[in-house]
């Protein structure tokens, strides 16, 4: 039984211009101790998915449907105070921009202690020692003294470590990391990812990793869900997505991944821009940018269906193309990339 | 050399007595003909003694020190708290401006050459609230203190030149011209001076206690020998006037106490509080805008007044509003043109612009309270006589005057009634071929500019408030060639006519009815043939009291008489 089982999740926002369909029927599950990566371009609904699970969307103007079963409780239906007790305790979250995610007017220590004391009735001393321990675990040097420092006295990478420490201080079952490395430079990115992997091993938390960077996915994920315009277009195990991708959008993402594209060869960006979620395109939402689009793509919404074949049973894709054709095309494309890489 | 005009000019801002202004909504008031302004006492009320009056000022006072006090408001206080050698009785006009002996036993004896003036002061006839008696020495003290250069009193400019040894006195020792001999206070003059009695009656000559220190900043505590004395004074804050227990003189003194608890009250709020009875009187609170509704509800002829509860009083000031026509500049140098202007202007119309009964239209140079005013003949019409004006212009053209004439008028900035008046003047003079250009100045700047000899100004839109009811204060000061100075002059028409200069100099030495007759005649002939001015109205003053206060008496020299007030 999965730790978190999300079914047909829909999140709509009422705005002055109309209803924004930010997440439009997404299902996935996260296993204990595993990492699920949610991948897609900005604005595809991946962050909103996480915020919805955490109950962090502004209540006014938000319509939420579906289920998110976490340890027998539907996070979308339970009492807000119940959910609050889960937040930061059983499910924690870290965010994209460590520079602004910490409150500038309180010390790191105060913010860490607060995280402990919000969920456990312990003394300040206890909260303090747990916080220091956690800071050490995320490899912050001189953790004891740095507890009294303010966020602006830390570098970006250090702040993200603090954020991670704060998220893990209550030993959560699930950590949601929303683009945790996006705002950091490449070296720091690698360090943070390494840290997260290591911590996952040590603490055994499951992770939902939201990113637009397949490179990050490659280093951490067990399962991957690719989202496009508020819908999941493909999901499966790490190997399915990287070696047997079946959706043209996934191909596009892989094609634009610098590390998979050989030196000298051109990066192949996906043409066009993501569609508006106010009035999403009919049929397959990718059809406007898809080079393989054909007649059924415009009127008919493709269902997310198991792929079958040599893929694992949970590899699923939402595409009208013939499975045979997709497999051949996928093979050729990847072969091409590999071949170039070997040259 | 007196310059009261400047002071009222400043008063216009400091005291809210907007002289040329009386601004506000005066534009439309159709009942603005001021024919029935009360000329003196309101009601012949017999007041009962006792009670306290709560009062406030919008603009406050300058000083209580008699050597320095010079606001209209402070003179009102001095009048209630001072004993002078001679005084004005607490009576409406005309009796109210007849000087009579007060601390002196009789009017002074003046030597035949007019150079020695002797007052006899019976010692102890008056006493200060401290018990100190008033003697001849008291007045010598007062005068010497005024003349001491360290005191910087404005009174120096009044009398220093006419008292022997006073001009340039260094403040040490005695002044040859000021002498005390037993109960006699003797002045030796450098030249005969017809205004010396009036000058000795000003508050500058208030009886002061012996040994009152010289204080250029003004003393803030002083004993008084009048019907009242100043019991306490905090500058810019409060003033308490109380009944003088030692007063045995004839002047009225009914109320026990008069408190000015505020020196900075907003005018509209002051009226509200007075209506409410929280305040009894704010002497400078009624604005032109308030004057009409207050008059209708509480004024002369209102139901309140009929029931003996009049609260709003409109009384005449010793003041004249006039256009001074610059005789030194070519534009209006021909007397015929100036006469034509006098026929063309609408005195009634201009007066209406001031506000409800804010003035009385006149063509006289001398205000009605001034001796000689009844002798001075009305010559010019109160409403325009265009045909006469044009006839005079034709005569002037025949005598070589070329039209159109361009004239530059100086008037006051930011005062609605002045702006309206200038529009009227422009229209009135147009048919005569006179093109008016108006330049508006801040009041304090206006008279300074006008007073510079050689100014390009052709007409000054002016007003003059007297220190005491004497024709000298109008004619000699404003129209004598001696008043033309390089700077800060007061003769804005730059009228310098040898014959009239001599006549005025001679008139200044005369006294009594002869003085009135002479000045009245000078005014009539001067305005008829030379017409250096076009006088157009006399200003009035508004006073609004709470329903509690009665016995209002308008003393023509000092205004509302504090000593006479009573609690109903």
């Amino acid at each position: 039984m999965p730790l978190l089982d999300v079914k047909d999740l829909k999140t709509y926002f009422r705005t002055d211009d109309g209803i924004v369909h930010a997440v439009d029927g997404v299902s996935f599950s996260v296993e204990k101790g595993k990492t699920l990566a949610i991948v897609g371009e900005s604005g595809c609904g991946k962050s909103v998915t996480c915020m919805t699970i955490m109950g962090l969307n502004a209540k006014r103007n938000t319509i939420t449907e579906g289920q998110a079963i976490f340890k027998d409780r539907d996070l979308l239906k339970i009492d807000p105070d119940e959910l609050r007790k889960i937040r930061g305790n059983e499910i924690s979250m870290i965010f994209q921009d460590p520079m602004t995610s910490l409150n500038p007017v309180y010390t790191i220590g105060a913010q860490l202690r607060e995280a402990v004391q919000l969920h456990e009735n312990v003394s300040k001393q206890v909260a303090n020692s747990r916080s220091v321990e956690m800071l050490k675990a995320v490899a912050i040097p001189r953790a004891e003294t740095r507890m009294d420092d303010y966020p602006h006295q830390f570098s970006g990478g250090m702040r993200q470590r603090v954020m991670i420490a704060m998220a893990l201080v209550n030993n959560p079952d699930l950590l949601i990391a929303d683009e945790p490395t996006t705002a950091l430079d490449v070296t720091t990115q690698a360090q943070i990812l390494k840290l997260m992997n290591q911590l996952q091993r040590d603490f055994g938390s499951a992770i939902i990793l939201v990113t637009h960077d397949l490179g990050v996915v490659a280093e951490t994920a067990d399962d991957v869900m690719v989202m496009y315009a508020a819908k999941a277009v493909e999901k499966g195990g790490y190997e399915d997505i990287f070696y047997r991708p079946e959706h043209p959008y996934t191909w596009g993402l892989l094609g634009s991944l610098p590390r998979l594209v050989a030196e000298g060869a051109d990066l192949k960006p996906i043409p066009g821009t993501p569609p508006s979620l106010l009035q999403p395109p009919s049929g397959c939402r990718f059809h406007l940018r898809c080079t393989y689009a054909f007649s059924p793509c415009v009127p008919d919404v493709p269902e997310l269906l198991p792929v079958g074949g040599e893929s694992a049973s949970d590899h699923a894709v939402a595409c009208h193309l013939e499975p045979e054709f997709r497999r051949r095309e996928s093979h050729d494309l990847l072969h091409e990339v590999m071949a170039e890489q070997q040259v | 050399m007196r310059r009261p005009g400047m002071w009222i000019a400043l008063g216009a801002v400091t005291l809210g007595v907007v002289l040329l202004g009386a601004s506000g909504c005066g534009s439309s008031s159709s009942n603005g003909n001021a024919s029935n302004v009360s000329t003196g006492a309101s009601v012949n009320e017999v007041g009962k003694p006792g009670g306290t009056i709560k009062a406030a000022w919008h603009g406050g006072i300058d000083f209580i020190d008699p050597a320095l006090a010079y606001y209209q408001e402070s003179w009102q206080i001095e009048y209630a708290t001072c004993v002078n050698l001679l005084g004005y009785p607490d009576k409406p006009a005309p009796a109210g401006y007849q000087l009579q002996p007060e601390a002196a036993s009789a009017m002074p004896t003046i030597s035949s050459d007019g150079l020695t003036v002797t007052f006899t002061v019976p010692p102890g006839k008056y006493k200060f609230n401290t018990g100190e008696p008033v003697t001849a020495q008291t007045f010598a003290d007062s005068l010497m203190r005024d003349l001491n250069p360290k005191q910087v009193s404005p009174f120096v400019s009044f009398v220093a030149s006419s008292i022997e040894g006073a001009d340039g006195w260094n403040g040490k020792g005695t002044i040859p011209g000021v002498q005390v001999n037993g109960d006699q206070f003797i002045l030796h003059l450098t030249k005969p001076n017809g205004t010396i009695e009036a000058e000795m009656a000003t508050p500058f000559m208030c009886a002061i206690p012996h040994n009152l220190p010289i204080s250029p900043k003004g003393v803030t505590s002083i004993a008084g020998a009048g019907p009242y004395y100043i019991a306490s004074y905090t500058p810019n804050q409060s003033l308490v006037v109380k009944k003088n227990p030692n007063y045995t003189g004839p002047r009225p003194h009914l109320i026990d106490e008069l408190d000015f608890g505020q020196f900075a009250i907003d005018q509209n709020q002051g009226i509200l509080e007075t209506k409410n009875g929280q305040l009894d009187w704010c002497p400078d609170c009624v604005t032109a805008a308030q004057s009409l509704p207050l008059s209708q509800q509480y004024g002369d002829g209102s139901p309140a007044a009929a029931a003996g509860k009049q609260q709003m009083f409109i009384s005449p000031e010793i003041e004249v509003n006039y256009y001074a026509m610059n005789t030194a500049n070519p534009a209006l140098s021909n007397p015929l043109v100036r006469q034509a202007v006098n026929y063309a202007i609408d005195r009634t119309g201009a007066t209406k612009q001031l506000g409800y009964k804010a003035g009385i239209p006149t063509d006289k140079y001398l205000p009605p309270q001034v001796p000689g005013a009844s002798i001075e003949k009305a010559v010019y019409p109160l409403t325009p006589d265009l045909s006469k004006a044009q006839a005079l212009m034709s005569q002037a053209k025949a005598a070589g005057v070329k039209t159109p004439i361009n004239v530059l008028v100086y008037s006051t900035q930011g005062v609605q009634s002045a702006t309206n008046r200038m529009a009227l003047l422009t229209q009135e003079l147009k048919p005569l071929g006179i093109n008016v250009t108006v330049k508006y100045y801040q009041r304090a700047v206006q008279f300074q500019e006008e007073g510079v000899k050689g100014t390009p100004m052709d007409i000054a839109d002016e007003g003059w408030l007297a220190d005491f009811p004497d024709p000298y204060d109008f004619l000699n000061i404003l129209l004598s060639g001696h008043s033309i100075l390089p700077k800060n002059g007061d003769n804005f028409s730059y009228f310098d006519n040898k014959s009239y200069n001599d006549q005025m100099d001679a008139a200044a030495t005369k006294v009594g009815s002869e003085r009135a007759q002479t000045y009245g005649d000078i005014a009539t002939s001067m305005k008829t043939d030379q017409a250096p001015w076009a006088a157009w109205s006399n200003q009035t003053n508004y006073d609004f009291f709470s329903s509690k206060i009665g016995c209002q008496l308008w003393e023509p020299s000092y205004g509302m008489d504090i000593a006479a007030l009573c609690v109903r």
């Binding site: 609050r84 | 400047m6 306490s232 505020q262």
Partner: protein, 323 residues
């Protein structure tokens, strides 16, 4: 920190010289001869000349300014009023507490109104309460304080007779001739001025606090606090408000400093002899020493308050401390 303070103080001195010099020059070019005023309405030319000399008015501008600064720095004297020859120090000493009473009382009142209303509006944007508050803000900003003052006097003071119409009472008790005094009278007489003063400012502050809180609520660290599982109350109080108050504190410092220079309208309408009243009065009467005195006092207030606010800011916001 010490260097920071020293830098601020040096800057304050420069500012002070600039302000006084500017005021001085402004009045130097005004075409009114103050000596004629001091000498009185009947002054002879000789007397005007004497007074002109006594007042240093016949010296060049820099000598006048030097003399003025010497008197100010050496003798702490701002000179004497041309109008009634009172020392300007004594006038300001009496006026400053009046203005301080208006301003601080008003500030407390407007904060008492603006903080809860602003926060409420920010937490429930577009709700009925918020809309009512925003209409109130618009009305408060649009209504001129003179009009508001008169209306309050007329209705609350005159018609309903609930509060005194106007006037100032000494806190320590009535001085001779004054009909009121003592803390109770003082308080009752200050209520309408405070309300008048607070209406305009609370309107500004509701709007400012609303937008500041709304902005802060969108900050990432507020989201972090929620994600930590902090209850909404804690999120707002502990995490949002302290940050949201930073700009408010800055504005408050500026506004109080400026208002201390003269809460002109309120003082005039309610007959409060404070600095604003004197500033206006002395400008009308060309009473230069009082004008300069109030300007200098006001600029000193602005300088001091800026310094205080800077220091306070450093206490609230740790980012400033090391900067």
């Amino acid at each position: 920190m010490v260097r920071y303070v020293i830098r601020r103080l040096l800057w304050a001195v420069v500012l002070f010289i600039a302000v006084t010099l500017l005021t001085f020059i402004m009045f130097y070019v005004i075409p009114v001869n103050p000596a004629a005023m001091v000498a009185g309405k009947a002054a002879t030319p000789a007397m005007i000349k004497q007074v002109t000399h006594d007042l240093y008015l016949d010296r060049p501008l820099y000598v006048q300014y030097g003399h003025f600064m010497k008197e100010l720095v050496w003798n702490h004297s701002l000179g004497y009023s041309y109008g009634n020859r009172q020392s300007v120090n004594s006038i300001i000493e009496k006026a400053a507490p009046v203005t301080a009473a208006v301003v601080f009382g008003g500030a407390i009142l407007w904060l008492l109104v603006a903080i809860p209303v602003g926060i409420y509006s920010a937490l429930r944007p577009r709700s009925k309460g918020d809309r009512v508050a925003m209409v109130g803000v618009l009305a408060g900003i649009s209504a001129h304080p003179v009009w508001v003052g008169y209306m309050l006097s007329l209705i609350v003071g005159y018609k309903l007779n609930l509060l005194p119409i106007q006037g100032y009472c000494n806190l320590r008790g009535a001085s001779a001739g004054q009909s009121c005094g003592g803390p109770y009278d003082w308080f009752m007489h200050m209520l309408l001025p405070w309300i008048t003063f607070a209406i305009l400012y609370s309107a500004f502050y509701v709007r400012m606090i609303r937008s500041s809180v709304m902005e802060t609520l969108n900050e990432d660290y507020v989201r972090t606090a929620r994600a930590k599982g902090a209850p909404e109350r804690t999120v707002i109080r502990r995490h949002a408000l302290r940050n949201a108050m930073l700009p408010v504190v800055t504005m408050l410092g500026m506004d109080i400093a400026l208002a201390l220079g003269g809460a002109v309208f309120v003082e005039i309408v309610f007959g409060l002899p404070g600095l604003g009243y004197w500033a206006i009065q002395s400008v009308f009467t060309f009473d230069l020493p009082i004008v300069i005195g109030t300007v200098i006092f006001a600029s000193i207030m602005v300088i001091i308050f800026n310094l205080l606010i800077d220091l306070l800011y450093a206490v609230i916001d740790p980012r400033i401390r090391l900067a």
